[in-house]
């Protein structure tokens, strides 16, 4: 049996082990002396949407630190030409950028947004929880389990090394032997399953649990964005599942889907991007929703062009499925395919433009109050528009032959992913923090965080456009003096460290907020939507009785007219909350089973499989809803 953690271990892994053990010990000590265990147990076993959402965000932040440290290593290695920083050259560098990309997309951006959806969507709709609280807990713990599997790889000196896109045939066992890319497959497979469950949960919640009178046409835009996003997840993620399954068969059972006489490496690219392009809209649409709500709240005005905003979200979602081959312009699909995908890609700029102008016109004639969430939203508009216009430039198929896989592309997608998703997530976290914890993050430190982050961001990524145009390909661990990209890279590195420093302010802010400030009331921002009618933090089953809605932003108008929101007589099905440890155990079992597959230990695979199946049987006989429904029928 091959034991992965003895033998020659690079020093960065040794350091990581030592630091993790020390931090872990400190955390355990702190939790024990402060008697935090009951609280931890309460969160672990909960099915409450607010608590699960908070855990999503907390864990995403932990992964954010991990992905951020990877980014620091990347930028340090690239700071000067022909650099030899620590161990980060050749394969080690490849591992770092692979984990940076994968962690940031799947274990930071996704859970940040899903966490915010968990917290805000039921509250915005006047629902008491998500439609399936138990399933929600499963989703969360599958994400945890996927995150652990993926991040474990590094500690056993087996971090994936084929890029976050894991292109075949490089990712097949012919060219990358060892367990490395098996970790990628199982980490994404397990957490992807959780994401699909969340999508189902959100769709059912939005369709079934809206408060009386909350028609679809009166829903806040964040809820709309969540609905469309959930449909995108439901269609796109199964494609990833299929692609990963085929790759797993190629790697473990010696099939040849992506290699050899009958296989074709381009199949992988198609499957991956049929998932991958909708994925970037999955990441951006919820952020759009957050910005719409935040900008409207802090302009003290209804969002401009509500109908066209909804149509634009739907159009972006729809077009998002028709553009995947723009990642493959240089593969040689032919002029016709390239032209069609170029035009569909450009078309996405139209609904996106509509949204940008509607945001601008929401501010016009409003009273714009610059709070931290609003500051992040304001920073988003110019930043994202820069990312958008480079997107259209990239869509010009022939010109993309030059941009493709160069630093120009790296700059572009960081402008959209950080400028859109991450700024959106920050805006959302500052905005809904009272609903999560009952306290408000410090405004002054929040603004410091914003300015350092945004300046660092532009310093990091603006020069990368030019590095790309000067011929610097992405995913290279060094460059020469003659390449003429030294200054650009040096500035970029300075910017990256500025961004890193800004995150320290967040830690300071958390400390200050929880140590030195008092809880706030239900409506600290003077909000417009239903989440601000319930207490902070939002209690379990907050809407009793359920309010009756008669317009968009009903809470705002009730405040303006100085009346209370009317209460509804019609009951809505109320999801049943329980305390259960089963999802956590299932997550543990899946980790064990995945390790069995990753290292090819058959007996662990079999045991893990049997245990996982056991949970289905257990669940069949232990459905907490049965008793409740039976009682309802009898009465």
């Amino acid at each position: 049996m091959y034991v992965p953690f003895v033998g020659e271990v690079p020093s960065d892994i040794v350091v990581a082990w030592i630091v993790s053990i020390l931090l872990g010990a400190a955390l355990l000590w702190w939790m024990t002396t402060r008697k935090k265990w009951p609280l931890v147990w309460d969160y672990i076993t909960t099915t409450d949407n607010r608590k699960i959402g908070t855990m999503y965000i907390l864990l995403a932040m932990v992964f954010f630190i991990r992905g951020g440290i990877d980014a620091m290593f990347i930028r340090t290695q690239l700071a000067i030409p022909e650099n030899d920083f620590w161990v980060f050259q050749s394969q080690k560098y490849n591992e770092v950028f692979t984990t940076h990309g994968t962690v940031m997309i799947f274990f930071v951006a996704m859970p940040l947004l899903i966490g915010l959806m968990n917290i805000a969507v039921p509250l915005q709709l006047g629902a008491n929880d998500l439609a399936f609280p138990y399933l929600n807990s499963i989703s969360f713990w599958l994400f945890v389990s996927g995150g652990i599997i993926f991040n474990m790889a590094f500690f056993f000196n087996a971090a994936p090394n084929a890029g976050w896109t894991s292109y075949a045939p490089l990712a097949t066992d012919t060219f990358t032997t060892g367990p490395n890319n098996n970790y990628y497959i199982f980490g994404l497979q397990v957490s992807g399953l959780g994401t699909i469950f969340t999508a189902i949960n959100m769709i059912v919640t939005i369709i079934r649990l809206r408060a009386p009178g909350m028609k679809m046409t009166r829903m806040p835009l964040f809820s709309w964005a969540t609905l469309v996003t959930s449909f995108l997840i439901l269609i796109a993620f199964p494609v990833l599942t299929v692609a990963l399954l085929l790759l797993m068969f190629d790697r473990i059972y010696g099939t040849s889907f992506f290699l050899g006489e009958y296989g074709d490496p381009v199949y992988w690219q198609h499957l991956f991007w049929i998932f991958g392009h909708p994925e970037v809209y999955i990441l951006i649409l919820p952020a759009f929703g957050i910005f719409s709500d935040v900008i409207s709240t802090f302009s003290r005005k209804r969002v401009y062009g509500y109908t066209s905003m909804v149509i634009a979200i739907a159009l972006i979602g729809l077009l998002g499925f028709m553009v995947w081959a723009h990642h493959m312009f240089t593969v040689g699909l032919g002029a016709l395919a390239n032209s069609i995908f170029a035009i569909t890609t450009m078309l996405i700029a139209v609904p996106t433009g509509i949204k940008v102008f509607n945001w601008l016109f929401t501010m016009r004639k409003g009273v714009v109050r610059i709070t931290t969430p609003m500051l992040f939203s304001l920073g988003f508009i110019p930043t994202f528009v820069i990312g958008g216009v480079t997107g259209v430039m990239l869509a010009v198929a022939a010109a993309d032959y030059q941009y493709h896989d160069s630093y120009f592309v790296v700059a572009h997608f960081h402008y959209t992913m950080i400028g859109g998703t991450i700024l959106g997530a920050f805006a959302g976290i500052y905005y809904w923090y009272p609903k999560m914890t009952g306290k408000m993050l410090d405004e002054k430190l929040g603004k410091w965080h914003f300015w350092l982050f945004i300046i660092g961001f532009h310093l990091t990524f603006m020069p990368q456009h030019f590095a790309g145009l000067n011929g610097m390909p992405r995913r290279v661990y060094t460059y020469t003096w003659e390449d003429g990209v030294f200054l650009l890279n040096f500035v970029s590195t300075i910017g990256a460290f500025l961004m890193g420093a800004s995150m320290l302010i967040v830690l300071l802010n958390l400390y200050k907020t929880h140590r030195l400030t008092d809880p706030v009331g239900a409506d600290p921002w003077d909000g417009r939507t239903l989440e601000w009618t319930v207490g902070s933090p939002a209690p379990e089953h907050p809407f009793q009785p359920i309010p009756k809605i008669n317009s968009i932003d009903a809470y705002w108008y009730s405040k303006v007219e100085r009346k209370k929101l009317p209460e509804s007589e019609e009951p809505r099905p109320s999801p049943i909350a329980i305390q259960t440890v089963a999802p956590v155990l299932l997550a543990g079992v899946l980790i064990v089973m995945s390790i069995g597959f990753i290292y090819g230990w058959v007996w662990i695979q079999v045991m893990g499989g049997i245990a996982a199946l056991g949970f289905f049987i257990y669940r069949v006989f232990n459905d907490e809803r049965k008793a409740v429904y039976r009682k309802e029928e009898e009465s």
């Binding site: 050749s90 394969q91 560098y93 490849n94 292109y167 045939p169 490089l170 060219f175 006489e261 490496p265 302009s299 003290r300 005005k301 209804r302 062009g305 509500y306 593969v331 040689g332 032919g334 002029a335 170029a342 035009i343 450009m346 078309l347 700029a349 139209v350 433009g353 509509i354 509607n358 601008l360 016109f361 501010m363 016009r364 409003g366 009273v367 714009v368 610059i370 110019p382 528009v385 216009v389 480079t390 259209v392 430039m393 010009v396 198929a397 022939a398 010109a399 032959y401 030059q402 896989d405 300046i455 532009h458 310093l459 030019f466 145009l469 000067n470 011929g471 390909p473 290279v476 661990y477």
Partner: protein, 232 residues
């Protein structure tokens, strides 16, 4: 922050003429550079409009002392405004789409043409990408590694294939990328217009030493090329 952005754009314009992609030395690269400038121009227009509106609205409608408790009246959306910002972008995209499609057809037929023989009097070079070097085979059977020598003002057609994983063939001064796939042949052609030495790179991540998978392209005079070709 705005000043910072502006600063970078100024830097970009000043150094634009030095950047390899914007410094074309072949017919193909020329077309691409023109397209890049066209799309950049149109997009700057959009960028400027958004930035101007953004700054103007923010300055005018920012909350000030006395407006603190104002509740702005609700506004109905203006149909004409909505139509404007739908149709104008569509129009801009149409303006961009026409040359895009034209260039894509012009260049792509060259890039991955049918398997028939080469057109006209183009010189053929067989390219094999492998971890982590490039092998070039000329018409007379001469082979070279990581060094590509081309005659100036002569159309050259590359037939590319890979021995292992996917690579991508890129000479920023001379042409865009074409992927190099195992078990398949892709094509690329261009006509170098100026003598000189240009960097060539692998642009598709291909494993441990992807970074080092570079080659040098020397564009030389016809005579120098002939004598190089005959040399053992």
């Amino acid at each position: 922050m705005k000043k910072l952005v502006l600063f970078f754009f100024v830097i970009a314009f000043l150094s634009g003429c030095q950047m390899r992609v914007l410094n074309p030395k072949s017919d193909t690269a020329d077309t691409l550079t023109n397209l890049i400038y066209l799309s950049f121009g149109i997009m700057m227009l959009v960028l400027i409009v958004v930035f101007v509106l953004f700054v103007a609205f923010l300055r005018k409608f920012r909350e000030r002392g006395k407006a603190k408790f104002d509740i702005p009246p609700d506004e109905k959306e203006n149909k004409w405004l909505e139509i404007t910002w739908t149709l104008v972008p569509l129009l801009l995209i149409a303006i961009l789409a026409v040359p895009t499609v034209k260039a894509t057809y012009d260049l792509t037929s060259k890039v991955s043409g049918s398997a028939e023989g080469s057109q006209g009097d183009a010189m053929t070079v067989e390219v094999v990408g492998q971890q982590f070097n490039w092998k070039f085979t000329y018409e007379n059977g001469k082979e070279s590694y990581d060094e590509l020598v081309l005659p100036v003002d002569q159309e050259v057609e590359f037939r590319l294939t890979s021995n292992d994983v996917i690579h991508s063939f890129w000479i920023p001064n001379l042409s865009g990328k074409i992927d190099v796939l195992p078990g398949e042949e892709t094509r690329l052609s261009f006509e170098p217009r100026e003598e000189g030495t240009y960097q060539g790179k692998c642009a598709e991540f291909c494993g441990a030493e992807h970074t080092l998978m570079r080659f040098e392209t020397k564009v030389v005079s016809q005579e120098a090329f002939e004598s190089w070709l005959e040399k053992e």
